[in-house]
């Protein structure tokens, strides 16, 4: 364990652990932290894990159009994916559309992208949002882009596996349809998490501190992973891992 790491490096470490044993993980657009974690997980798997990164030229195996990733997921070939949300509620419902009454919402975001599909079909959907506030983590989302849970009988091999924020790591209990606090990141507290979370969660008596990335992992992040992630995300690689943008 090292004390000298950036918050992004901690999050990369957290997500990397969530990807253990995955055969194929896909990373969506604008996701440098999940992307770095996926590449680190691949490195740790000895190259066995497949990683595809949307927006990357080199880490993009698809040759059958934009539909291919979705078809691949629906066939059960994709084990892990990342989603975020403008709002996320306690049942893991995700809102990517807006705040207020649809359609004339008073706040509008881009749209639902592939969430309403992949959330059902990918076994480990990792929710990631680095703004842990009551504005984001609401009691009930204003618009369900993708529901966190489904009634019995609905074909749903996939769903929420964890929620990673800048404060903590949640697991999701599908039976109870609730998040459970798994660990709090170094420097933060359970109270802080509760203060900034707008929905009810399960809190065990002992909440561990999130494990910091090991020196070995940090070396990998700042070495080969930084080089790889610099291709789709040169600015991120420069800012977090300190490699020159030109290196991409």
């Amino acid at each position: 364990m090292s004390d000298d790491y950036k918050p992004e490096e901690l999050l990369v470490g957290v997500i990397t652990r969530l990807l253990a044993g995955v055969r194929h993980v896909a990373v969506g657009m604008l996701s440098p932290i999940p992307g770095s974690a996926s590449l680190l997980a691949r490195e740790l798997s000895g190259g066995e894990m497949r990683v595809s990164v949307l927006g990357s030229r080199k880490m993009n195996p698809w040759t059958d159009g934009g539909v291919e990733l979705f078809d691949f997921a629906a066939q059960g070939r994709l084990d892990a994916f990342f989603l975020s949300g403008g709002q996320i509620d306690g049942q893991a419902n995700v809102n990517l559309v807006g705040i207020g009454d649809y359609p004339q919402t008073k706040v509008r975001w881009s749209g639902s992208f592939g969430s309403a599909y992949l959330y059902f079909l990918v076994p480990r959907v990792i929710l990631f949002r680095d703004e842990h506030t009551r504005r984001v983590f609401v009691p009930k989302v204003d618009f369900i882009s993708a529901p966190g849970t489904s009634n019995e009988g609905v074909y749903r091999p996939g769903g929420p596996y964890a929620l990673v924020t800048n404060l903590c790591l949640f697991g999701f209990d599908k039976e109870r349809r609730r998040f459970r606090l798994e660990s709090v990141h170094p420097g933060h507290t359970v109270e802080e998490v509760l203060d900034h979370t707008g929905f009810e969660i399960d809190v065990p008596e002992q909440v561990p501190t999130t494990e910091a990335p090991s020196a070995e992992w940090l070396t990998l992040m700042r070495g080969p992973i930084a080089q790889q992630i610099a291709e789709p995300y040169p600015k991120f690689a420069a800012r977090v891992f300190g490699i020159a943008e030109a290196a991409a």
Binding site: Q104, T105, F113, G114, L121, G153
Partner: protein, 277 residues
């Protein structure tokens, strides 16, 4: 249809798009016909129903801002790393456009059903999403006839009136080489009509070129082609050029206010003569 026409320029193509057209467009990285989009604004097209495969960016934002759009059918409108799409956001808030919010795989599946001439397609996922609740007349939940007790969403086939995109090259017969941009096949096959801009019109027949043939859309789907150098600018054309990120950032900034958008259109849309496109 009597063979594909090679027309003079994007203004000539824009003249082929009637008001009220359901216009099929690709996502930003696939080859967006931006020069043609500017010509559409110049021609003052009205009441477009834009259907994006499966999402859109600056193209839809400009058309919306310029008042050309009635309805947007899409999984998202976004300037991606340059932020939210300002004209889209404003139009949503004022109710100036009708929304048909969807999700990428539903638009893909619907358009593929259109390609196949089938009336609808059953797909996984979506059940319980408000996307279905708000389009209940189109997205129906049915019971799987092959396995009762298995609910499924069905999505109606999508056949745009006209598809428009930009590609690397066409030949004089109107065959269009799209390289790795397979979504252009889906758009061209699904649409009733297809208008294409290309970087370059070449003399050799692309279907006779063994390496290019597999990535060539035959002219039987293409109504007209116009040459438009840098026709995807400021977006990228895969294999040819990248996005002009400085310009996209400038757009995001200027379009952030209605006045700024008007100035943008004046400078970058209206004053760009057809010759310059």
């Amino acid at each position: 249809m009597s063979g594909t026409g090679i027309v003079a320029d994007v203004e000539a193509l824009a003249a082929l798009v009637p008001d009220g057209t359901r216009l099929g467009v690709p996502k930003d990285t696939t080859g967006v016909a931006m020069a043609l989009t500017r010509a559409l604004v110049r021609r003052g097209v009205k009441n477009l129903h834009v259907v994006a495969l499966p999402q859109s960016g600056i193209q839809s934002d400009i058309l919306i801002g310029a008042g050309c759009v009635d309805t947007v059918e899409t999984a998202a409108v976004t300037l991606s790393e340059h932020g939210l799409a300002p004209c889209f956001i404003r139009a949503v808030k004022t109710g100036a456009i009708k929304l048909k919010d969807s999700t990428c795989p539903a638009i893909y599946a619907g358009m593929q059903a259109g390609v196949k001439g089938q009336p609808f397609v059953p797909i996984r996922g979506l059940i319980g999403s408000d996307l279905v609740a708000h389009r209940a007349d189109e997205y129906r939940v049915i019971d799987n006839p092959l396995q009762p007790g298995d609910p499924l969403v069905i999505v109606p086939a999508i056949r745009p009136d006209i598809a428009v995109f930009h590609a690397a090259m066409a030949d004089r017969d109107g065959n269009v080489y799209v390289g790795a941009e397979r979504d252009c096949f889906t758009l061209a096959h699904a649409a009733m009509r297809c208008l294409v801009t290309v970087e370059e019109i070449v003399d050799d027949n692309l279907l006779a070129d063994r390496l290019r043939r597999p990535a060539t859309i035959p002219s039987i789907y293409i109504e007209a082609v116009a040459e438009a150098r840098q026709g995807a600018w400021p977006l990228a054309l895969g294999g040819s050029y990248g996005p002009d990120n400085d310009h996209l950032a400038l757009y995001a900034k200027m379009a952030g206010s209605p006045e700024g958008f008007v100035e943008y259109v004046e400078r970058f849309v209206m004053e760009r003569a057809a010759a310059a496109e």
